[in-house]
Amino acid sequence: MTFVFRTLRELIVPIILIFFLGQGGNSPLFTWWGISLMLLVLFVTGFVNWLRFTWRVEEGELRIEQGLLVRKKRYVPRDRIQAIDISSGPLQRMFGLVRLNVLTAGGSSPEAQISALSRSDAQAIQDALQVEMRSPDSVEKESTWPVYRITRKRLLLAASTAGSFGVALSIVGTVMAQINQVVSEEQMIDFLESWIGGTSVEFWVTFVVLAVLAAWLLSLFGTLLRFSGFTLSRNGRELYIRRGLFEKKQITIPYHRIQAVRVVEGILRQPFGFAMVYVENAGFGDEGGKTTVVFPLLRKRELHTFMEEMLPEYDVQLPGVRPPGRAFLRYQIRTVVPALMAASTLAWFMEVYWLIPVIFMAAALMAYIRYRDAAAGFEEKNGFMRFRRLARTTVMFQRRRVQSLSVMANWFQRRKKLCSVQAVVASGSSGAVFRVDHLDESVRNEWLGWYGADHSVDRPELPAGTWPDWRADGPVYET
């Protein structure tokens, strides 16, 4: 029966889409026909998919076959299976079923999943394959390893400072556009004017405030849903994450697939000394690959202990350099010029000329903190880079995980004897690029020497500075 619910869940987005798009002048009859037709089609395909989905254990292999027209077969041999994860979402719980996730060794193939089967069948699979089976609690209870669990207070703090405004604003924008189709702009202005009793300027101010508030609320609830009950545990081989309010997500990250650790101090979080920790992660699957949150909110002074316990390979303090004073102007130009161009276009069209100096000031300030926060360095096997777009990001990686290293300098940089360093690590099935701009020209040969095969490169002493500097508050601070 779960297929019905699964298709229903898959249907929600198209239904909403049809509902909104259908409002654009078409008759409501059309909309309802559309929805019913779509429901029917997806219902039938869901049912057929369910009919065609088979699994069996044969010759020491888990064999999953699915698909109507294109028959997809996935045979996973026993010795490639690392573990079997068992979990259950609200739907599965309603029917007393479980979801089974097969984790394979090595990241060369996507993992296999059976989304609904009975507990006894799961047990049978486990017995037949004789592999370790884990349910959410077993990992946390059985291990003597540390477990990090998010507190309610922290969760609330994380949610209220999430500020994923970009995504949220676009949602609000779409909703507004749809409202515009239903209610004409004049009607809305009339309504708002009678409600607020103001002029056009006041209308826009209210509109912006409301939109920002709505965006903030959306990101608040989004984060609450996503990170509720966030629990990070580990064993000798892998990190294990459990999170989510209604649907419990489980993510297993084998240590050997971690490519880099990213500590992100959001612009709303940094003033309070909080940061979010991500790992870059090579592998397949929607949650097992790419950039994954390993803890939503930590105090900066907790980071050292956290790293020591959960990501010990990345718990290192490294020497590094910041951009020299003459790079300051380059940072200013790179930030201020594009901002001014955008601001003047906007000001010209909307005739709000006071916007130009305001944006100029904001950009100059941004450029200053970008300049101040940039740093990069390495020692032996580890390297780090720190840079800021909006949030300050500190990335730590191991030399053997870096896929390629580039040092570049444009014409302006060459004139000022500056250069940029860029490292690429694997992330998901593609890569993540980290880059620090406008460092002194001398780091060029140092980085190439560190990364390249020829280690004879003469390495002058780096000017002092040790990163990541959150260790300054940590228990093992050394000078």
Partner: protein, 201 residues
Amino acid sequence: MNERNDQKPELQQDSSERNSRQDKPEAESREPTKSSRKEELRDEHGHRYLSPEAINAWRIGGALGSLIYWLIPLGYGALAMGGDMWPEWPAYVLGVIFLTFTMMEATVIPWIRWKRWRYHVDHNEIDLRRGLFVVTRTLIPIKRVQHVDTRQGPVYRQFGLASVTVTTAGDTHEIPALSEPVADELRSTISEYARIAREDL
């Protein structure tokens, strides 16, 4: 349909050319490879240059490619002529800028780009230096190489050139405009090195 008809004979011609090349006696077919090796240019560090043919290939490819940008002033011009809303002068300004750009692409830019491009491959790493405005040096350890391809577009084919593409788990790098035999050799060299490096692991 027309396109297909146009292309087919070209393709056939091309393959027949290749066949005729292969049909030649061995000594002759080896000759060009040898001489191309002799002519092969290296800088003071022993790093190799791309094929000198690259300059002319890029002149044609770059000039043709830059024609796309002409759509902007042309489109704007058409709009400006149509109504009184917009002034016409931006079309002329953009036109002059893009004309200069196309001229540069057809003359000096490929030359400078060729002069700046060096590559070096050994059993440890691939070392690329390049760049006109942004001068870049990239190191790719052989151990990180996942696969190597050669590619050849229509312009490169006319000049007997091919590019070698190196893919790692995180990104892709291209060594453009090598003469065909050099590109093939480089591809097999890199994949051989990569195989050995992987066995060592």
